[in-house]
Amino acid sequence: DAGVTQSPTHLIKTRGQQVTLRCSPKSGHDTVSWYQQALGQGPQFIFQYYEEEERQRGNFPDRFSGHQFPNYSSELNVNALLLGDSALYLCASSFVDRAEAFFGQGTRLTVV
């Protein structure tokens, strides 16, 4: 079992550009959540996907959007990048009715 895998591991983008981050959940998991972790802080919830629909959303602007595919993998898209979007983006997968979640190693996004 490969666990939760995220790609790419590192990414550098220019302010104003768009970025897509990808997540493959742990085998069998049907729910994917995305978190933003700024340097020196705890992760902040962005949104959660289940059955290809956004179920919950944290306090993030519409520039942040996502998608879940039939195989449960997910993408996080960020438009019109700002310097403040620089962070580690973590993907977590779980069964929808279970408490525990497993995290990927994250994608480090740097906006210059």
Partner: protein, 115 residues
């Protein structure tokens, strides 16, 4: 909304000694889960221990144990016989028992283990 507070930004412990990391939380719910996650420099969040709020017995996992005080909304982590590999950021996290809710994380405590 739930909040999680970790009042110790940094802690250090001698190898083989015991250290306790503090966490408090605020919620109006009666049923929930509490977690401690470890984040080493590799960045991957690793589950250390989990506690269900309805259980009075404190959870233990080998060298890791918690002191869960529901009335005080306190959830501390004790690491016994500290090892060099325990050095990492430790995050306390809350998750509602309501179907499919997200995690609420604290700001973290950086633990250093001194040889």
């Amino acid at each position: 909304a739930q909040t999680v507070t970790q009042s110790q930004p940094e802690m250090s412990v001698q190898e083989a000694e015991t250290v306790t990391l503090s966490c408090t939380y605020d919620t109006s719910e009666s049923d929930y889960y509490l977690f401690w996650y470890k984040q080493p420099p590799s960045r991957q969040m690793i589950l250390v221990i989990r506690q269900e709020a309805y259980k009075q017995q404190n959870a233990t996992e080998n060298r890791f144990s918690v002191n869960f005080q529901k009335a005080a909304k306190s959830f501390s982590l004790k690491i016994s016989d500290s090892q060099l590999g325990d050095a990492a950021m430790y995050f306390c996290a809350y998750r509602s028992q309501i179907y499919g809710q997200n995690f609420v994380f604290g700001p973290g405590t950086r633990l250093s283990v001194l040889p």
